[in-house]
């Protein structure tokens, strides 16, 4: 089904299971900040990719068609040391350096990527894994790495054991050779989760069962402590609410440190490693010591993502309740300054030009009313008129680049071109909206259009919301 739609009904129902989709649409699920340029932020939203190059004052929207995503999951993001935004999807990994031109890694074409991570200390090196379902309830999966800011990828080792269903991967910020992988076991493990630890960059692992995760209580890595590679935080998908577990000995033993009333989608550790923040749409924001003690509800902001830098604690939230979509706190979550609201977006800006502007225009027709955007067509071109290129096609074929980045005909945006209502950076992209275009063409009712718009991957959202 279309998860997006559950949102509205869930709000009406206000029943325990509303966490199913609370904030599902529109919402942000991951916020990452450039390790070398704090002015560069990227947000994985349920309706595409948002990027800011002015510290969050303004954001530009990139539609999913232009990115080249299959559109059935939330994007998993990283900003590499080069400043390139790396996007993992269900059909591979793509990167962009200018926000307009996306280059997909051909060696991962059509691979279902499960997760993506990198280390603060070596941000040009990234790890990820792909997975696929095999007959008999087994899985094919493999960890891959990139040493060139996500441009090219190669396997670290052989495929993972077929009984493993990998869920999340992370690298210790203070020790790049320490890689953690969470995975679900098979029937022999009663479908419980395990934490696997590698001290050789993901080549070999030791594993330990995570207690109280049997029967599909999937476990996602929430964060690895910034200074202590042996301390790792996990989020266990449990009913009725997420359980936060912590290991202080590299995954040998675990302890519960917090239980939400519903899903906890945001988690972050302060850069100095002294504080932790955890929250969710129905639990507000809790802050305490990084060892899991002294947790106290600090605010009512229902975070759907959290990221903590030396400057501030950032949160994604539903602006209808929190007043902002992206906010920033300078007092450890007690108060938030709203940076941006999704209804401030102007998606049809023609910053990148080309036929993909038309593609994004199609999506914008659906997204604008959903996010409440009312701005005028800030520089956007209709599909029929792209003044810069003369491109009149809505139907240009897939044009996401595989291989060297394309440069011709795509004027890169200025470094700070995302100001105001201006910055839908369109790139050439393959559209998954063939049927959607048809729907638009025949002008079906709006709710039908919404239904057609979003097939979002929920669990990637759970995975993605983590400390970068």
């Amino acid at each position: 089904m279309k998860r997006a739609g559950i949102f509205a009904a869930a709000l009406v129902l206000a029943a325990p299971a509303v966490a199913l989709a609370n904030g599902r649409y529109p919402a942000g699920s991951q916020l990452v900040i450039d390790p070398t340029n704090p002015q560069h932020l990227a947000v994985s939203a349920t309706f595409g990719l948002l990027e800011s190059r002015d510290g969050g004052k303004t954001f530009g929207w990139m539609c999913e068609a232009a990115i080249g995503t299959s559109g059935q999951q939330d994007l998993m993001l990283a900003i590499a040391g080069s400043g390139a935004t790396v996007v993992a999807m269900f059909n591979g990994i793509t990167t962009t350096s200018d926000g307009c031109t996306y280059r997909s890694a051909p060696e991962l074409a059509n691979k279902t990527m499960g997760d993506l991570a990198w280390s603060r200390s070596t941000p040009h090196q990234l790890v990820a894994f792909w997975l696929e379902f095999k007959a008999g309830g087994t899985f094919g999966s493999q960890i891959v790495q990139s040493s060139d800011n996500g441009q090219s990828w190669s396997p670290i080792a052989d495929a993972l054991a077929p009984e493993l269903y990998p869920l999340t991967i992370d690298v210790a910020p203070s020790l790049p050779s320490r890689v953690y992988l969470s995975a679900r076991g098979d029937r022999n493990k009663n479908f419980g989760s395990m934490l696997m630890r590698s001290d050789d960059g993901g080549a070999t692992f030791t594993s330990a069962d995570i207690p109280e995760t049997e029967e599909h209580r999937l476990t996602y890595i929430a964060a690895v402590h910034p200074t202590d590679p042996d301390r790792i935080y996990l989020r266990v998908f449990d009913m009725p609410g997420t359980v936060i577990q912590m290991s202080s000995d590299g995954g040998r033993t675990f302890q519960k440190i917090f239980t939400g009333t519903e899903q906890l989608l945001g988690f972050a550790i302060s850069p100095d490693g002294t504080q932790m923040a955890v929250g969710g749409p129905n639990d507000g924001l809790w802050v305490g010591s990084a060892d899991g003690t002294n947790l106290a509800r600090r605010s009512d902001v229902g975070a759907t993502c959290l990221t903590w830098t030396k400057d501030a604690l950032y949160a994604c939230a539903d602006y209808k309740t929190a007043g902002f979509s992206i906010g920033r706190s300078s007092d450890s979550g007690a108060t938030f300054e709203g940076l941006f609201r999704y209804d401030e977006l102007c998606g049809r800006a023609a910053a990148c030009g080309g036929s993909t502007t038309a593609r994004c225009s199609e999506e914008w027709e659906l997204i604008a009313p959903a996010v409440g955007a009312t701005c005028a067509d800030a520089g956007a071109s209709d599909a029929s008129t792209d003044a810069s290129t003369g491109d009149t096609s809505r139907d240009a074929g897939p044009t996401v680049e595989a291989g060297p980045p394309a440069t011709g005909g795509m004027p890169p945006p200025a470094a700070d071109d995302s100001g105001g209502c201006t910055s839908a950076r369109s790139a050439r992209g393959a559209s998954r909206f063939g049927p959607l275009a048809w729907l638009v063409a025949v002008a079906l009712p709006l709710r039908r259009l919404f239904a057609a718009l979003k097939n979002k991957q929920r669990s990637s959202r759970l995975r993605a919301s983590r400390e970068p």
Partner: protein
């Protein structure tokens, strides 16, 4: 609304049934103890499946001796030479619903014996507790018997069989999707010969429709639907293998009986692509003259109805119809299904229910209350499903439709 009539009409029998369920020694429906994981059953129904089970043990195909009812038939034998289970090649345009079922029906509010004004224009109920001549079974008996055909082990086996045919996914227009539709059609032709199958095809898309023709042209139409297509790279056994296969299995169970109203069980294509299959179907239905007031009484959507790792047995029911929600509640009690029902409102929840509500039809959407973390992921496999929960959800749906359509006997 005409459905109100149907509901009121059945409320009487349900009220009586409630007494029976509470005060008699009639065994409750037992969905078994399947739970998640495990294997069991075969991919095909055995001989016991063809004999209406006399007891209510959904795990057993054995008919209790004291419940064997005259009129029991061997469906397999009768169906051996019956072509109704095969695709209807005579339909010239597979894109449109069958004409006989789409013809607007007379307004059923002109039922006889209307002597007392009813709220909201409803007509007084008919006495449906009296079985038709030649059949000593009450509607409750028939429904209880019908529910016994939905067995945990068999549903699990069928689900796993579908999964084995779904690699790497059932993306719309893919070979696996096409093969899955043919597999469903083929096993239904053998196991549900009284359900008429039809492919609804256009532009490379394909819905699969199973029709159980009613006996009363004025009694309306009831549709149950789910989508068989998936997103890419997942076998999608919860979203929506559970609903799509469930629709077929409900059709199979229902097909052993006769009803006043028409019943259709439809497997939709391309829900993930934008509700394309259901939109096509609902639009064609409406264009054919099937009106909400006189023809399609309700569309019941099944999408993601099998994930319940904690055995909460809680089913969410979205509908704007209080009568329909009440009917679910009463059926759940009457047949001892043991579900906890969480009621909600709305007629469009970004699934195929929207396609029908867009056309003005009344809808119900049954949906699991535990979110699957495997949603749209490769891990959405049979191993994650709770087959007892799935079975109960199919049973309540089948019971609601059967009650509303009014069973009048076993199929000949």
């Amino acid at each position: 609304m005409d459905f109100s009539i149907r509901f009121e009409l059945n409320a009487v029998f349900l009220t009586g049934a409630l007494f029976l369920a509470c005060g008699s020694s009639s065994p409750d429906i037992d969905s078994g103890s399947g739970g998640t994981g495990g294997t069991g059953g075969s991919g095909m129904s055995d001989a016991a499946d063809e004999t209406p089970p006399g007891d209510l043990d959904a795990t057993s195909g054995d008919a209790a001796p004291d419940r064997v009812i005259p009129g029991t038939r061997d469906g397999a034998a009768d169906g051996a030479g019956d072509t109704r289970g095969t695709m209807d090649a005579s339909v010239p345009d597979g894109m449109t619903p069958q004409p006989d079922a789409t013809t607007p029906r007379p307004d059923a509010t002109t039922m006889p014996d209307t002597t007392t004004p009813m709220p909201d224009g409803m007509t007084p109920p008919q006495d449906t507790t009296t079985p038709p001549p030649g059949d000593a079974s009450t509607p409750e008996d028939l429904i209880r018997e019908m529910l016994g055909r939905l067995k945990v082990a068999e549903i699990e086996a069928k689900t796993r069989e579908l999964e084995s045919k779904s690699l790497p996914d059932r993306f719309t227009k893919s070979a696996t999707y096409t093969a899955a539709t043919e597999w469903v059609r083929d096993f239904m032709a053998i196991e549900a010969p009284n359900a008429t199958a039809r492919f609804d095809e256009w532009d490379g898309y394909r819905n699969v429709e199973f029709t159980i023709k009613g006996t009363d042209p004025t009694a309306g139409l009831y549709i149950i639907g789910g989508h068989l297509d998936s997103v890419k790279n997942t076998v999608a056994m919860d979203d929506d293998g559970s609903g799509a296969l469930g629709v077929a299995l409900i059709a199979r169970a229902l097909s052993f009986y006769r009803y006043q109203a028409d019943i259709r069980c439809v497997i939709f294509d391309a829900e993930e692509g934008g509700l394309i299959g259901s939109a096509h179907y609902a639009q064609a239905l409406k264009a054919s003259g099937c009106e909400a007031s006189t023809c399609l009484k309700v569309y019941i959507n099944l999408d993601e109805i099998a994930y319940d790792p904690s055995n909460r047995m809680n089913l969410r029911i979205w509908s704007d119809s209080t009568e329909l929600k009440n009917l679910n509640t009463q059926v759940n009690l009457t047949y001892g299904l043991g579900l906890t029902l969480t009621m909600g409102t709305g007629s469009c929840h970004r699934s195929d229910d929207c396609s029908f509500s867009d056309q003005g039809y009344t809808t119900i959407y049954n949906f699991q209350t535990t979110q699957s973390p495997y949603y749209h992921m490769p891990g959405d496999t049979s191993d994650t499903l709770n087959f007892t929960y799935l079975t109960k959800n199919l049973q309540i749906t089948a019971a609601v439709v059967a009650t509303a359509a009014v069973p009048i006997g076993r199929a000949p």
